[in-house]
Symmetry: D2
Subunit: 360 residues, 4 copies
């Protein structure tokens, strides 16, 4: 990783600090760049805190996916919160000074998917910080339709992680939950969030599976009834025991790991649902006959968040006190600690790291 | 109410104690009668505890509904638990000594409704203690298909109320709950149970409405975020305030009272669901255009329990500790206190009264 | 009905012909008025044909509903088709010359309903020709988000009735249809359309109910397997016979008539669905216990059209040849025949009347 | 294939003709064996016609699946129709002389799956002619709960194929159909049936894909709007052209072929459904990220038939005339032609072959 440490915060009227993928190679660059301008239907937000997603690590590392998708130079980052700085002439729903965050799937509103209520699957989808200038910066611009006004009781560090928390809410609530049993494969931040959402939504029993003891501990703090370490425990056996041989009613895949696909179907009760959010790095072999057909399984591809059904339900779960995600927010750091935060995230020793603005 | 107090427990090999509607007139009769016999697919259960339902009060009072439906002599009662005493030759899923309760909707399994998975709406439905000999007795007989084997951790007093608790679970879980807002009209035992089920299932906010302060207190103990007394509080105003003007996503009607239909729709958000369990005593006037059509409401008639989907989810909610119904179980009495229990239930000063066997 | 027949077509650059409710009293007025101007996100359409809805008759008659909702002066009318005349600066999905019609529910896109995909139930809903200037005119303006571009194979007279046809598609497809039995109460144009949509969608059997023999004939031409005249036939008996005693799986209410609510529930199989589109003129008495609860019915309030899911499915049904609505389009007239068309519509002797532009 | 041609029909009071897998090796044996006896809840049926399924060919061939599942000696065959010969003492819904066929998934009724309405996914499932004595015989026994009484208007050759036709109905109706576009991969009899069910249910457009021109012709006769030969046509290109680039709303997989999984996802619109019935012979590689997750697809494992929801809808589609399956029933032969029929089925030159009883 090559890091240009020369750039320092010196936000002026039209210049700002940002973290950029400047070249098509591994590394990240702290830069000074123009403050983005907003069109008539856009909202410009002064970012106050952001968080680092696994996607951002792929961009820093410049892996196969990043190289095929990202067009440098690009300010990246999409998990953020801030204060509305200015709004376009036609914007009516928010005003300067409002605390906001945003839905990062910028949708066209006019394609076949959008016009049937599937905006999160828009055929012209642009993802913030991936396909358009992102949020690791003093300012970020979003269309009004993507801006989410925060309730005053939502703390800043939680506001900064609404995007991944929304992934967890979308996945967990993609079918009935109350009085049912679940297994969550992968205990990164979204997996841990999902454990919390399931338990808040009446899941009777939730198993959490990972290989990292620190993450399993976080899942336990989020309410997991059983944690299983894939490196030391027989996953299928433990989950079948925990469900008295009945298996789970739902499996949430948050790891992208082939082993999770193998074990996850194995513990699924007939007629159960499988909700896939974790992105496998390559095609996987699946025993369709045994795992999907004879089991009568329903397998759902989950992407983004329902706009804004997921957001309303997420907000309500948070405000009601049903869902407390603070155990997952293991570190709060400053923007000047960006590289350190990246390293910490990579180490697997952190849950979610929130970085707060530490320059004027 | 005419009560024959002469009969005393003297269960012999083939004689048993029971509470009967002996004549087509108000009153109840304690009798001694033959122990019922079980066919090859039946299970005979030695009752250990039972509870009194509103339906039982109608039978005692011999109101219009009872007079049109009940054919005396009839041992009534349908909320119960007990121990399997004997099983028919073809019964395989339970054995003498098993702790059980039962689904009181005895279905044919062969009609159009049953054969499409709607056994609770069977066209030849026989309800225990209404259309066939009931459970206020030393012994009760049910077909194997209706018997529910209890988990060892379910206490007897909760086992005795699985029927009304199942009504609440069925009603509450008839649509999405997590992260949504609800109003429950009617805080009798089922209404109070429903408040608990909603909260256990991730409801973000639940208002409970009744005129009886004791019942409202129970609803509060079950987790209601707002209690509204229809006799002293402006119901619509209070609920709209509590939902910041947005209204509730779901309304559960557990009272059968006309006012609940009026106010309940009024506080419903567009596109919301209305789940009707409470039985109005006569036809009601409804402003279909305003309340149902322009609101885009979905109104569900709820009856019985899904067989056995509701039961599995109820059991799981109880065993997980998510749902604690004990605040509603305000009194435990003995079978010899039956008339006193009827009076107490009628007084509105009790939640659910469980009566335990107090003779050998 | 007072009609001002003085106005004649003399569309100039900025003046146009229109039908207006000019005063708060019965009647309609042909006027000359300013051509409406379009904002940056709007589309101005040169109307080429329109149709008269029951709502328009209420407006002409100035009944209780009209008097409470309409603010004169108002150009009314909302069933139309035309050619894009000009578009605002931000419009991208249509261009001058495109053949279009439009979704008449103009939604805000920002309220709780809209943001969860229920735009047709928008809390700030403005209906074209009811709450804002309508389509009985040379030109009409709609926001881009409401404009529907027509496939070249859709004929003009069918394009002009997409609004009511969409009501029928929304109502009919609000639940499973294929291999099920239905009753449609009310055989006005939407009821007749609904019969056609049900049959095109695999309904195994459809009964159509009305008191008007002409309309029943149209329903039969749209594919009804049984037509029942409420004035001469025993509705419940005929439908139960036709379903071999089983009842219908779904009931579509398109009349608003109290008798339909009474008979419609009576013929519904347990667990059936009731989809309500017809607007009763006043509150109705319903036996909730018997008709909704014990039957386990699901009653849906249907309003408008799903935006645009209903539209895509409507278009596909039309283009595939599955759905042929021409039998319902009994008359094609000219704009100069407007009053005659109103009279004909009122007489009950017409299905849908399409009026084509007959001045330059 | 080893065939013992010695056995000839000589049904006596307790002896009958049957086709058996007598030994754990390739081949089929015509045998004389005892007429099966029926328990108190069973129905004995005198078979009048049956049909050969792909599963039967696997059993004859003694492939890997057959060797692992079948325990010889076994009378196989499960697609059949006949006349009730005798019924057990407790049977009430059918009587000797009734024309019937049967649901071949014999379920326990007491497991977790069965008790939640998923009998077709019973955990103790026994399939007729696979796990218990089958229908290629003079008589077959089924539990009353599995017997389906035929409407007098259903012809015998269609009655004999209710099992595979039910697979097609279950798969096609596992989601919305009317006004939507579909692709069916695999045009064996079930695939061809599915094309017919989709079209009868309002599908706006259906593409059928296979490599066999005879089967593609049958699909066309069942209503396919486009047929694509995988060996000569570019599948993805043709289907995208046919849907104007939009892709299909649903994909039905009836072939089990890896290529269908590859192409089928490729032509799926975002948010579409994939219904899998065809059994792949081994695990398949799937690009989960691209095909399922980013597409927001829902993938359903389909097995058997919904008991009896599928059956009622199948019957209604047939009786209404909406669904005509006769083009698929290419051959009617006699039981004495069994080996010839097996060969014909194998050749790919037949649709479905129905074999009628040709001995007394």
């Amino acid at each position: 990783m090559t890091i240009d440490t020369a750039a320092r915060p010196k936000t002026t009227l039209d210049r700002m600090w940002a973290i950029e993928k400047s070249k098509a190679e591994p590394g990240l660059w702290r830069i000074e760049t123009r403050v983005p301008t907003a069109g008539p239907r856009d909202v410009r937000i002064r970012v106050t805190a952001f968080a680092i997603c696994g996607t951002d690590l792929h961009i820093v590392d410049w892996d196969r996916w990043a190289a095929s998708r990202i067009k440098p130079p690009l300010v990246f980052g999409h998990e953020f919160t801030g204060i509305v700085d200015s709004v376009g002439a036609e914007v009516t729903s928010v005003a300067p000074g409002d605390r906001v965050t945003g839905e990062t799937h910028v949708y066209c509103g006019l394609c076949y998917a959008c016009r049937r209520g599937l905006q999160h699957l828009c055929q012209q989808l642009e993802i913030l910080g991936v396909d358009r200038q992102g949020a690791f910066a003093d300012y970020v611009v979003l269309p009004e339709q993507n801006v989410w006004k925060l309730h005053p009781s939502i703390p800043e560090e939680i506001a900064a992680v609404h995007d991944p928390l929304g992934n967890a809410v979308h996945t967990a609530l993609a079918g009935p939950v109350a009085g049912l049993r679940f297994a969550v494969f992968g205990c990164g931040p979204i997996g841990c969030f999902a454990v919390g959402v399931l338990k808040a939504s009446g899941a009777a029993w939730v198993a959490a599976v990972d290989k990292n003891p620190i993450r399993l501990k976080l899942a336990e703090r989020m309410g997991a009834d059983l944690t299983v370490n894939v490196e030391t425990d027989p996953v299928v056996k433990r989950i079948l025991e925990g469900t008295h041989g009945r298996g789970v009613d739902g499996m949430l895949e948050m790891s992208g790991h082939p082993g999770a696909f193998r074990d996850g179907f194995e513990v699924l009760a007939n007629g159960g649902r499988v909700s896939l959010l974790g992105i496998p790095s390559k095609p996987l072999e699946i025993d369709i006959a045994k795992e999907v057909i004879f089991r009568g399984a329903t397998v759902q591809g989950i992407n983004g968040r329902l706009i804004f059904d997921t957001w309303y339900r997420m907000e309500s779960l948070l405000l009601s006190g049903k869902l407390d995600v603070r155990p997952v927010l293991t570190h709060v750091m400053g923007w000047s600690d960006f590289e350190e935060a990246v390293g910490l995230q990579r180490s697997g020793k952190a849950g979610k790291i929130v970085l707060k603005r530490d320059h004027p």
